[in-house]
């Protein structure tokens, strides 16, 4: 039996001294593929063009939204100061924000690009004229750390669970699919509030909100880290619960499709251990659409953090955006939106690279 499968391997490398496991070597085709990993320049070029176009479109939308609306940041600021500012001050503010009506729109657009390229996002009215970049830099690590961690945990747990459910099809684990889907249809903010009510107000296991207690000094000491972890527990748990269902369902559906393929039957007929068939043959192929939707779902995840941060008063970028919206602080809103879009784009680029590594077909067909 083994003589048949190892024949191509011995043909290609006749000097192989010790007998090798034929299942590890693979076919001649896979080795030929491994041998010449050509760089698919056209594929990379196409993706790069798409990302540049998306970035340009997002920045342009970002530029136009506040300008198309009636009333701008300066109007809002003047209204709030209730006549304490002179018209001269208004004019100065307009110059500062690049909202001067006497400057034509295309000039404003070019100025906006110039500011962006210099890394200048303008100043934020609602946080006391601080640079927008500083305000975002203070909030971003909290969001990235918490939501990034929760999302990766949810993706890994959901995908592994979906693979096992698909493998043991028809078993008792099938119940998990509707259960996790139900948990996913619960509105996140409600789930968060219920968890706060149950585990914080009634049981008192976890703190109800904020990233750490007021009196604690931020720094690399045990007390602060412990505080951060205990404050992050409820948000992480709720995000994982709310987002698990999609990963489980997607992976399980893909597994059911893949498990009917001929190569699974062949792998089993060769007597390959079940664990290897499950993870290296079935799951590896079934996970590809998951990675695609992982990248696409990042936009929704970023949106979800707004609600999470509002419910848990977590000092991240979502709370900052809400504050900016309420204060009509357009510079801050634009800056945050820009950062969010860029984050999603970077995540998509990473997912593209992962996809190209995992699935050689994308490199071949697109190139």
């Amino acid at each position: 039996m083994s003589a048949d499968t190892s024949a191509p391997a011995t043909q290609a490398s006749p000097a192989a001294p010790e007998p090798v496991d034929p299942t590890l070597v693979g076919t001649t085709a896979t080795r030929a593929e491994r041998g010449r990993m050509r760089v698919p320049w056209r594929f990379i070029g196409g993706r790069a063009a798409f990302y540049l176009f998306t970035a340009w479109a997002a920045i342009t939308i970002n530029f136009f939204i506040p300008r198309l609306m009636k009333g701008d940041a300066v109007d809002a600021y003047m209204a709030r100061s209730q006549g304490q500012l002179t018209p001269d001050a208004e004019k100065a503010l307009r110059l500062m924000f690049g909202l001067d009506h006497s400057v034509p729109l295309w000039q404003q657009y070019l100025d906006y690009w110039g500011m962006l390229l210099r890394g200048d996002l303008g100043v934020s009215i609602s946080t006391g004229m601080a640079p927008v970049g500083d305000a975002i830099a203070a909030a971003l690590p909290w969001t990235l750390g918490l939501v990034g961690f929760a999302t990766i945990v949810s993706f890994l747990v959901g995908t592994v669970l979906g693979a096992v459910i698909g493998w043991r099809r028809g078993g008792r684990l099938d119940v998990l699919v509707p259960v996790t889907t139900f948990l996913g249809t619960i509105p996140y903010f409600w789930l968060g509030l219920i968890f706060i009510a149950a585990f914080s107000s009634v049981l008192g296991w976890f703190p109800a909100g904020h990233a750490y207690e007021v009196g604690v000094d931020p720094g690399w000491n045990a007390e602060f880290i412990g505080q951060v972890l205990s404050h992050a527990a409820l948000p992480v748990i709720t995000i994982v619960i709310a987002s698990l269902g999609g990963w489980v369902l997607g992976m399980r559906n893909m597994m059911l499709t893949v498990l009917d393929e001929d190569y699974i039957t062949v792998a089993q007929a060769k007597g390959m251990p079940n664990r290897r068939v499950l993870w290296r043959y079935a799951a590896r192929n079934a996970v590809l659409p998951q990675i695609q939707s992982f990248a696409l779902s990042l936009g929704f995840i970023v949106g979800g953090t707004i609600v999470m941060e509002m419910v848990f008063s977590y000092p991240g970028i979502g709370l900052l955006l809400l504050g900016a919206t309420n204060a009509k602080d357009y510079a801050l809103m634009q800056g945050i939106f820009l950062v969010l879009v860029m984050a999603v784009l970077v995540a998509n680029i990473i997912a593209d690279i992962a996809y190209a590594i995992l699935d050689p077909r994308t490199r071949q067909t697109e190139a």
Partner: protein
Amino acid sequence: MSIPVPPEVAQPAAGAPETAALLTAERRPAPRRTFWTQLKASLAMFGNRKSAAGLIILGVFTLVAVFAPWIAPYSPTAQHLDATLEPPSWQHLLGTTHIGEDVFSQLVYGTRGVLVVGFLATIMATVVAILVGVTAGYLRGWKSESLSALSNVFLVLPGLPLMIIIASQFQDPPLWIIAAVLGLTGWAWGARVLRAQTMSLRNRDFIQAARANGEPLHRIILVEMLPNLMAIIASSFVGTMTAAVLGLTTLAFIGVIPVSNLNWGTILFWAQQNSAFPDYWWWYVPAGLCIALLGVALALINFGIDEYVNPRLRSAGERARALKKRGIDANAAVTAVRTTASPTSFPAARAAADPESTTA
């Protein structure tokens, strides 16, 4: 060796071939294609139990929304100042709020707000998705690529922040603006899926034949292609509606949408503003459960459509269960050959065949 063949088995071989009888049998007349049979065929994807259950729940919610004034015992904004924050009673089925509004009445009227905006947003998003997706799939070259790039851009833009930024620009947005904002951020996924499916349909024989016959473009798309895209359109409709309902209630809860538009999210907004959590459960539990129930109904419809499009999703579990009933593991690499018929003697037979395992 010469076993006598029973006559009833030997007969077909000896006599006339069976197929001749089939061939000469009177052909059944094809069922007449009426409007109703066509409607029934296009609704086949809702014919399974999961879809039906989802549609029934959705139908009940729709009825509640339509007949809200007859179902609700009070006006949703009527204040009963002598009965504030009361737990559920026969007077107020789901209790009252901090200013004595009837929570049940608010819930009933809120259904209307959710469904009107939800359907409106979904219809807008689906129309855009069909227009962009089918056109992008049917055309070739730069036109197709640029439409695809457009939907990809909207797919990448974070939806909720965009909704918040746009919705906050309006002082008192009317219903259709809220729906348009939700639709604007929700059409891209459907367009992407539709484009992929249209591209695969474009090269099928029946489309080529229609084109060769000189059928006009709108007829090819409307009559030849759209019926084959119905399942995908339905599935993206349901998915968009789920997103729209969650988006609407979230926006209302955040307080971006004016509270005059009563929906389930507004109830939760007031509940949180007046610190109803965790004591006044009758104020915040029903609204959340309603959103979840509507979400479950939509998910069930989608499960049913998925199983209709990809029958493996249903049959895989059924086949594995059938195998298990006969004592076979669907994942076993080697199929066990059972030499004895009765299951009671099976362990004994295995022990006899493999004495090492019992001693080790």
